[in-house]
Amino acid sequence: MTEAGYNFGYLDENTKRMIRRALLQAVALPGYQVPFGSREMPLPYGWGTGGIQVTASIIGADDTLKVIDQGADDTTNAVSIRRFFNRVTGVATTDRTAEATIIQTRHRVPEMTLREGQVLVYQVPMPEPLFRLEPRVAETKRMHALADYGLMHVKLYEDIARHGAVTTSYNYPVLVNRRYLMSPSPIPAFDNPKLDRMPALQLFGAGREKRIYAVPPYTEVKSLDFEDHPFKPARADAACVICGSRASYLDELIVDDGGKRHFVCSDTDYCASRPPLQEAAE
């Protein structure tokens, strides 16, 4: 049952139409940031207002929604966004990646390979990948128009010259369809390869910065690198203490005053769907 007094999906129909038009342009321009009239939402910027507006504009009564925050379904941000959509749309929600038709995410891509018919909606704090190198919006617009991304290559080169390797471990810049430089949002670089030729549609919403962008299905997404320094996604060299996975992305936990460390899967649904380690093994 939806909350009385709200339109389906919270946003009014004019706003949805405006966002829907921006989404269609975004899909036709893979990786290009389309400006849109971001609305004030009932939670502050930084809590996923861009992703929520994208989800609100695409969601329908038949959808099943999953929301994750750093891979987990049970964190504050994920729980409150899921409850919000349950109240303003009444759609079914789920923790299971396989059952969801729309997955809104903050800072992770699910471990399970997504399929056609699913839509992955990213919450994006800063859509402009060149922002730390060139703060002027007028200038970055021109750089995107000219596909002039030398500045980013110099930054990666300087990392290698100073540290021997690229030190960016999250929000690692990608080139979409060999044309636009794009921020994949602050997902770990470990997740970057999953964006490449993903069968699901990927939509990105930045509420404060008022930008929407997209990666259509089966589109080439290449992490920037050099021939002699190929892109290497990093992962903690450990196994999950709950399920024993050596393939998933891990969170590090400090579990006592002595600094003892445990690693657990960041993707809670992936971890829960695997058989737990036997007690005796510990």
Partner: protein, 189 residues
């Protein structure tokens, strides 16, 4: 007498939009829209639904038929312009206007391009053109009846200007397929 639009605007426009979003994400695949009770002639169901879903006071529309103008103004409230080059949505039920004459955005703001909503005689999947590009795993096949003879030449010129360029929504009856400017089209062979 102005015929009805969507029976349930919030739900019906969402269903139509998801079909268009899927169609532009998977170029050349044909998607069926929920039938519209009374599309105003000569508009058929899919084209009328797309207008109800996307057009409003912010989007100048150009139309090659006079009959649905009252319907369009009443339901969408959109400005109707005299030149296709000034429109955000270009609606053609007869001859296709030249793609080169439509708004194609700028290098810095390619999202200011027009979308051509073109009503064609028929769409058939699995035969005809070979489509490749973003959104397509290997290739999609699409046969379209009712396009000008020089369409592929016009399309090649449109695609060559990327990121500038026009996107096309091909509508036939209650079904549609999209050609975003990224898609490459080869003649069947």
């Amino acid at each position: 007498m102005i015929s009805a639009g969507f029976a349930d605007p919030a739900q019906d426009s969402q269903r139509s939009f998801r079909a268009v979003l899927e169609a532009i994400s998977r170029p050349g695949r044909i998607f069926a829209l929920p039938p519209l009770a009374e599309p105003p002639a000569p508009l058929r169901g899919a084209l009328a639904s797309v207008l109800l879903t996307l057009a409003d006071a912010d989007t100048p529309v150009w139309l090659d038929a006079a009959a649905p103008l009252d319907w369009l103004r009443f339901h969408c409230g959109c400005p109707v312009v005299a030149q296709p080059g000034a429109a955000r949505f270009v609606v053609a039920t007869g001859a296709m206007p030249a793609l080169a004459g439509l708004a194609r955005g700028t290098e810095e703001e390619p999202h200011l391009a027009a979308t051509l909503l073109l009503q064609v005689a028929s769409l058939r999947a699995g035969e005809g053109w070979r489509l490749t590009g973003p959104g397509i795993e290997r290739e999609h096949r699409l046969a379209v009846a009712g396009l000008p003879a020089d369409f592929l030449a016009q399309w090649a010129a449109n695609a060559a200007g990327f990121p500038r360029g026009v996107d096309i929504v091909l509508c036939a009856g209650d079904s549609l397929a999209c050609l975003p400017r990224t898609v490459r089209i080869e003649e069947a062979g």
